[in-house]
């Protein structure tokens, strides 16, 4: 009964959703040319698609607005400012802070709505009493000041879109015009269209012909869009959109990213930065490897390999495309290696982990040792153990990157492509972060293997399998241990040159050391225990170490303040 009513509700909701989305005029608008346009935002050159996704998500915590995708929604907000100034777009992420608006003179229903939905409108934010309340709260509780700063940031982003207070119905504050004479996309600041046009009128001499024609044609195009929007004539709007897109690209081709690059960026965005596609393929791989491990049906092993390589391919593409896109904004391949923030480091860690696991799965190392030195080790490869662990860690990481924004309604640090603090722009970053995140991936796999061992221990108790799993886990633990060790040491070397001291008991440093000590304990516990008990303790401590690592990687950023705030 309950399920039926839920289903009915769901169908009704979906129906409502489609009805609301089915705005005949909006449906006929073709935003594709606009999505592919470039602009400079936060000192970074990006496509309108990226900009609109980031902006809409930052303001509303959603990827769509009433069923309309970001690019179209953002254009609609810019073209119908009066309507959207009243709409409840600004999403308050800090829940306790929502209660503070309860003291304002608003009616009960509205108060409840704010508490539940957590959204307010731009006009509501602009009201003097709201401003005053925020100032008061900011002064009395510095803890909430951050929440208020965030809301102010969202509101100012929205005010740019609305072109407040002129409500100009143009994209007046987005820097669409590449700099004249720039040889690289991000070499000089880009200008918003009205500003560029104004500068041309003031100083008309000495400009490129292409620049003058381009800017003026864009102005005409923008007016066409605006006119078409006010008369609800989709054909006119589409013509205007095509015009501005075409002319923007011709203003300074040297500074304008190529069409291929822009198309890749849009595709990359629409595939959620290739997170879920990668996770899906890895998942299938993990299932096949696991089936092979327990059933010994040979074809499932090959299927596992096929999908694992497929997952690795998508994963490589995710990193490679991102690298290429970041390069556009940084202007230098070396400095744009994508490993500079939480998003990128999780991505890279999983990539490294999967590769190591798959290499171990091939057995190439033990075979080489046997061929070269005639040494015989316990056979751990070809059984799907490392394959499962590698595919699982790839899947879990990519899935976490995909799901986190939806769950928390805020982006992972570095999800969007941005500029990095100058202190990070050094080769030390690559050495240190690569090693540390690589060890994190290996720790992730010891976790998978540790849990696996515990399950087998309590369910199956097959001595052979248990021994094999323990040996596999030990291989991973050893790798994790020394790589983390070198990672910490290189961090100290970097800190020595950038912060003037190798070790300052920063929370990140401290908890990395604690993680390392946990594995140090594992190594020594193995000396004073034996047999299955030894393996069980090892597995249990692998799980503990994983959570200490996780706290260090993610938790420290939220709970403790330190110098590692960017990773």
């Amino acid at each position: 009964m309950r399920i039926t009513s839920l289903l009915v509700l769901l169908v009704v909701a979906m129906f409502c959703g489609t009805v609301r989305a089915a705005d005949a005029f909006l449906d006929q608008i073709d935003v594709e040319p606009l999505r592919l346009m470039s602009l400079q935002h936060n000192q970074t050159v990006k496509t309108f698609d990226t900009y609109s996704r980031d902006t809409l998500f930052h303001i509303t915590g959603k990827t769509h607005l009433n069923g309309v995708p970001a690019a179209k929604a953002v254009l609609d907000i810019a073209m119908e400012p009066q309507k959207y100034a009243d709409a409840n777009l600004i999403y308050i992420r800090n829940k306790p802070f929502r209660y503070d608006f309860g003291n304002l003179p608003i009616d009960e229903a509205e108060r409840k709505r704010i508490l539940q939905e957590g959204t307010i409108s731009f006009k509501f934010w602009m009201q003097p009493q709201t401003q005053e309340a925020m100032n008061r709260i900011m002064a009395t509780a510095t803890i909430k000041a951050q929440a208020i700063n965030e809301i102010n940031g969202q509101a100012s982003m929205l005010s740019q879109l609305l072109d407040y207070p002129r409500f100009g119905r143009t994209l007046a504050s987005q820097a669409f015009v590449p700099a004249e004479g720039a040889k690289h996309a991000n070499e000089k600041p880009w200008e918003p269209l009205p500003q560029a046009a104004h500068h041309l009128l003031e100083h008309s001499e000495g400009h490129d012909e292409a620049y003058v024609t381009g800017v003026m044609s864009m102005v005409v195009g923008m007016e066409t869009i605006s006119r078409g929007w006010s008369t609800k004539d989709a054909a006119v709007v589409n013509r205007g959109l095509k015009e501005i897109a075409q002319h923007a690209a011709s203003i300074n081709p040297a500074a304008y990213p190529s069409l291929t690059k822009r198309k890749f960026e849009v595709r990359y965005n629409s595939l959620a930065r290739l997170t879920w596609p990668g996770a899906a393929v890895y998942f299938i791989a993990a299932v096949f490897f696991l089936v092979y491990f327990s059933s010994d049906v040979k074809w499932t092993y090959y299927a596992g390999w096929l999908f694992a390589l497929g997952g690795l391919f998508v994963h490589t593409a995710a990193i490679g495309i991102r690298w290429w896109l970041v390069e556009k904004s940084v202007g230098n391949w070396f400095e744009s290696i994508p490993i500079k923030n939480q998003f990128e480091s999780v991505m890279f860690a999983a990539f490294f982990g999967s590769i190591v696991a798959l290499v171990l799965e091939t057995g190439i190392i033990s075979r080489t040792l046997k061929a070269v030195g005639g040494l015989e080790f316990r056979k751990l490869h070809g059984m799907g153990i490392f394959g499962t662990a590698g595919a699982a860690i790839g899947m879990l990481s990519l899935l976490a990157l995909f799901v986190t924004p939806y769950v928390t309604r805020s982006d992972i640090i570095g999800g969007g492509i941005r500029q990095n603090a100058g202190i990070l722009m050094t080769y030390w970053l690559y050495i240190h972060v690569t090693l540390v995140t690589a060890s994190y991936a290996l720790i992730g796999m010891t976790f998978v293997l540790g849990v696996w061992y515990c399950i087998q221990y309590f369910v199956n108790r097959d001595a052979g399998i248990l021994q094999t799993l323990d040996a596999a886990n030990l291989t991973m633990l050893q790798l994790a241990f020394w790589i983390l060790g070198i990672g910490i040491i290189t961090g100290a070397l970097w800190a020595d040159v950038s912060w003037g001291r190798p070790w300052g008991w920063d929370p990140k440093e401290t908890f990395a050391l604690i993680t390392w000590i946990v594995y140090l304990i594992v190594v020594h516990v193995r000396f004073i225990t034996a047999g299955q008990k030894r393996a069980l303790v090892t597995s249990a401590l692998s799980v503990v170490g994983f959570f200490v690592m996780l706290f260090n990687w993610i938790g420290v950023n939220f709970f403790l303040v330190g110098l590692h705030s960017y990773a």
Binding site: G374, G500, R501, T510, I521
Partner: protein, 679 residues
């Protein structure tokens, strides 16, 4: 007895399990120190102190002893076990190196303006009490100063400060001729004791009756412009240099003791001639004294000018700051906007309503009307205009033996006004100034600034008063974590003693005492040559060499100008280091991640902060590097040993096994081989 000792040793220093327990204990200790700051703050320990205190040192000593004992007793010194030996040696080396490092480590920073040389830097952790007299700064270290909790006799816990390192201190002026504070002031035996400490507090003032004083003082309760929820006492007292002028947001207040009523009237009269315009047209020449908002017809020439706005600090194209009036000129046939600057002959004219015009109009390169010549002069002999960022000044005039107060208000863009306040608790009508946030928001959204509302402020007028200070601790929920960590809100109560005389003074903190203005209490010791001032700041230390900043460059992303709020790619400080002993000079560039090392790496100078406004200074971080090499060797051994233990040892064992088997097959006896656990 011996058995018991044997048992004890077996289960402690000679036991792997004990070592593991020690490791776990160390992990827990550092987790608490880093993860639960409240715990170390309870013990008045910052991070460095907490990790350099006895519990961790004891754990480390036990760790090292156990490690050494267990290694020697239980690990055979054979090729397969060499890895463990190397790792353990590495760990012991690292711990010794770290112990030496933290015992000798100093770090701090120094601000260097472009073109200047510094020879000292400020310690990052240690505080010092500074005394300034006759332009000289003496100082004394404050070791053992608490950090996290407030102590004072009013709080009943002042005895915490009753320790040798904080009592009877004598600030000293170092240099060729070392001078003590009493020598500087010319008094006998001047000593200071710290008797109160607040980690996060504000220093406030109030008026108190003072016998023998004839001074008139005013206090007004006004909301704090930065924190509208609290009201602040604003004091005005003409006889006290520090409180004769004050400001509240963009409102300036000043109190002046006038000799007579006539002087006040003279001041009021001067407000009518603030803006002087000398206007010349063919057949017309006249001087006009004008006010903002006023329209002046120019005889019967058909011209009229309306004064639109006054900008006291307009930055001209040649980057000079000048006063400017914006006028609307109604000529016989046309209407245009004109801006005239003090000391600048050529005006800037603007065509109204032209295509591409901005809010002011379309800027013209040459005057629209060559016939109309306007020269602008600003007359403010009485200094009644607001200064700096103010937009209105209220000047309080009092005369001796009169209970009357005359308040002259001169706003930038409106007519001056006069209010006469009678009695001890009159009401002043005040225009509530905009908060800086509101002004910023208005400029960001392009809105015109709304006219500020008028408020009536009760004023308390008292006679025979003086100013006294008091400390108001900021409640925990209002504290800002970063401000707290930098110590910007620390205040000391210092007791100065000389013979039978003593005085308590509040002394606030400032970073880099010699570089920033002091707000510390004034000290007037009876019989002293000169008054003195006290300040709490970081301890000043000698740099190993002199450093001059030749040039500073900041580079932002996206071709943007490097300014506050922009993402910065790199900073570069071009420095010249001079060895004080030999005079030898070396040049270097300090940039992010690329420091300059001095004296074979003994010292490091790294980029720490910068001047986001004008790039006119840099702040270099300074640090020594004791034991870094030892720690590095320790780390190297650990890594090498690890490799060996994980990847070389199994190979050796297998090779040994093979050889043993081969020998066994040949029927030989196996020598020197014991079965080893394959780990």
């Amino acid at each position: 007895m011996l058995n018991a000792l044997d048992w004890l040793l077996k289960h402690t220093l000679r036991s792997v399990l004990f070592g593991i327990i020690l490791l776990a204990a160390i992990a827990v200790y550092i987790a608490i120190g880093s993860g639960l700051p409240g715990v170390r703050e309870y013990f008045e320990k910052d991070e460095l102190a907490f990790f350099n205190s006895w519990p961790l040192i004891i754990l480390m000593v036990l760790m090292v002893t156990t490690l050494v004992t267990v290694t020697i007793e239980r690990i055979p010194f054979t090729p397969p076990r060499l890895g463990a030996w190397i790792i353990h040696t590495g760990i012991v080396t690292l711990i010794f190196g770290a112990f030496y490092h933290y015992t000798k480590k100093v770090e701090g920073m120094t601000l260097i303006p472009v073109g200047q040389t510094v020879s000292q830097y400020f310690d990052r952790w240690e505080r010092a009490l500074y005394l300034r007299a006759g332009g000289l700064d003496a100082r004394v270290r404050l070791t053992g100063l608490p950090r996290f909790k407030a102590y004072d006799e009013t709080l009943g816990n002042a005895d915490y400060l009753d320790r040798e390192s904080l009592q009877n201190l004598v600030p000293v002026l170092p240099g060729r001729q070392v001078m003590t504070a009493h020598e500087m002031l010319g008094v006998k035996d001047l000593k200071f004791s710290v008797v109160g400490y607040w980690p996060y507090a504000d220093l406030r003032q109030r008026l108190i009756p003072s016998p023998g004083s004839k001074d008139v003082g005013f206090s007004m309760q006004l909301p704090d412009p930065d924190d509208v929820s609290t009201k602040r006492d604003l004091l005005l007292i003409a006889s006290n240099m520090r409180y004769a002028r004050t400001s509240w947001g963009s409102v300036d207040f000043e109190h002046r003791a006038a000799e007579s009523e006539e002087k006040i009237q003279e001041a009021i009269g001067s407000t009518l001639s603030l803006h002087e315009l000398q206007v010349a047209l063919p057949g017309y020449e006249q001087t006009h004294y004008v006010q903002v908002g006023q329209t002046v017809p120019l005889g019967d020439s058909g011209y009229a000018i309306t004064i639109e706005a006054f900008s006291p600090r307009w930055q001209t194209m040649d980057r000079k700051i000048r006063a400017m009036l914006t006028l609307m000129v109604q000529a016989p046939t046309t209407k245009f906007r004109r801006q005239v600057l003090v000391d600048v002959e050529k005006p800037t004219d603007w065509v109204l309503g032209a295509e591409g015009a901005g809010p002011l109009g379309l800027r013209q390169d040459r005057p629209l009307d060559e016939l109309l010549k306007i020269t602008y002069k600003l007359n403010d002999p009485q200094n009644l205009l607001p200064r700096d960022d103010g937009n209105v000044q209220y000047t309080f005039f009092t005369t001796p033996d009169s209970g009357k107060t005359t308040v002259v208000s001169v706003p930038l863009n409106e007519k001056a006004a006069v209010q006469v306040l009678e009695g001890d608790s009159p009401t002043l009508v005040l225009r509530q100034p905009m908060t800086a946030d509101a002004v910023m928001m208005a400029s960001a959204t392009g809105q015109p600034l709304p006219k500020p509302a008028e408020v009536s402020v009760p004023v308390t007028r008292q006679e025979g008063v003086t100013v006294t200070q008091y400390v108001e601790e900021v409640p925990r929920e209002k504290r800002n974590k970063d401000t707290g960590e930098t110590g910007l809100k620390q205040i000391l109560r210092v007791r100065a003693q000389s013979g039978d005389w003593q005085q308590d003074i509040y002394v606030p903190y400032t970073p880099q005492a010699t570089k920033f203005a002091w707000q510390g209490g004034l000290l007037e010791v009876p019989g002293a040559k000169t008054p003195a001032q006290l300040q709490l700041s970081n301890m000043l230390r000698d740099l190993p060499a002199n450093i001059r900043l030749d040039k500073f460059e900041a580079q932002a992303y996206g071709g943007l100008e490097a300014q506050a709020g922009a993402m910065i790619r790199n900073f570069q400080s071009f420095i010249t280091i001079t060895n004080r002993a030999t005079g030898e000079q070396t040049q270097g560039i300090v940039s992010l991640n690329d420091p300059v090392f001095y004296n074979n790496g003994e010292w490091i100078f790294f980029q720490s902060q910068w001047d986001p406004d004008g790039q006119s200074f840099t702040v270099l971080g300074i640090g020594n590097r004791p034991g870094v090499l030892t720690m590095g060797i320790g780390c190297g051994l650990i890594i090498f040993g690890n490799f060996y233990a994980f990847y070389v040892k199994p190979i050796i064992i297998r090779l040994m096994k093979q050889r043993a088997l081969e020998k066994a097959q040949r029927g030989q006896k196996i020598k020197g081989f014991a079965p080893v656990e394959t780990a």
